[in-house]
Symmetry: C2
DNA sequence: CATGGATTTCAATACTAATTGAAGTTAGTG
DNA sequence: CACTAACTTCAATTAGTATTGAAATCCATG
């Protein structure tokens, strides 16, 4: 039960949660997630117990639809979990229609998963594009004048450099989620290529 | 001098450059840079010699203004360099009014710089925000009812976790640009904190 | 199996960021 | 020092995302 002097306390708590939600939202945006995802995760993470959509809506100031969609997305990323209504809660009359959510606290798993799935996918696409470019250049050289020859050689070399870089990145990323440690000196050498 | 059979060759080259420019542009966008920065850098990187703004404009399909602004930004990041008109070029009548640019090829320096300046700045802001939240919560607890007390304790713990995580990230990032190698096991432990 | 609260969907709206291009400025050149 | 090509600036436009909220759907409950 809250005493009358808790009014200021509650306010301070709400403001603190707001600040953290903003911070996490911004961080998430920087990593190309929608800010609402960050806000909602933060609110769940800072709540001692599970919350339902309505409560999240109230605390985050986001719309019904947004909360629903964001929760789906967070579940997909394994960053939020659904929890069953506890027997105690059920006995106390909490409707079983309400779905309750908590934040996943093993952030390493979160980060590893995002890296594995999203960044890896990005780099795969890049590699495919670079290979496509190389294929195009492969036909070049035969039947070409000497100037064109030289330019093509140069181009091929540079695209190959980018490709090598991308592949190193992929290897790195793949290793990361397993070993949990990365030797950046490997990539540094590729990055330093001059030609 | 290009022979007639070079027509298809030139086309292939242009398309290849286009594909790479797209790929790099997309990559850059993912890292929260404007895609045009990536496109322009790629075009310079794939050119055997320095290019002036007009040439970049033609090859990238971007507007005059965009090319000008983007070059400024790329120079700031040390990702592109200005080069003086070569004596040979000057003798051949290349106007000294035209400014020539080349791509920086030491990509490690580029990446390290971006990480150091940009990501570090982001994490600094986050840390400041988390500390602000903690300050707010500091006043809470005295004169509060027992329920409020418990909730506040919980909140403080969780915000502290986030803060610790952020600081670990900062330490990591600081180390990265120097040693070139990161032990992610350190951060993994922080990320795995349960409470 | 009808009811109504809970949830999802999605077209419309609001926001944010990137790009354009014309007007303004700068600086080689004759 | 006037001229003009090269470059820069920035207000307006366009493009791209995120968010809203009302309508549709779902589903435990009586």
């Amino acid at each position: 039960m809250a005493s009358s002097s808790d009014i200021g306390v509650d306010e301070a708590r709400d403001r603190a949660v707001g600040i953290v939600a903003d911070a996490v939202g911004e961080l998430m945006r920087f990593w190309n997630f929608k800010p609402s995802l960050g806000r909602i995760w933060a609110i769940l993470y800072l709540s001692p117990g599970p919350l339902d959509a309505e409560e999240i809506e109230a605390r985050s100031g986001l719309s019904t639809g947004n909360v629903s969609m964001s929760l789906q997305e967070l579940l997909q990323w394994g960053v939020v979990k659904r929890v069953p209504v506890s027997p105690a809660g059920a006995a106390a009359g909490v409707s079983s229609r309400r779905r309750l959510f908590v934040a996943e606290t093993d952030m390493w798993a979160m980060v590893a998963r995002v890296f594995r799935e999203r960044e890896l996918h990005l780099i795969e696409r890049t590699i495919a594009q670079l290979e496509e470019a190389l294929d195009l250049l492969d036909g070049v050289g035969r039947g070409a004048g000497p100037t064109a020859m030289l330019q093509s050689r140069f181009l091929v070399t540079r695209v190959r450099n980018l490709l090598e870089l991308a592949k190193t990145g992929r290897r790195l990323l793949e290793g990361l989620s397993r070993t949990g440690s990365v030797d950046f000196t490997a990539i540094r050498d590729v990055l330093r290529v001059r030609s």
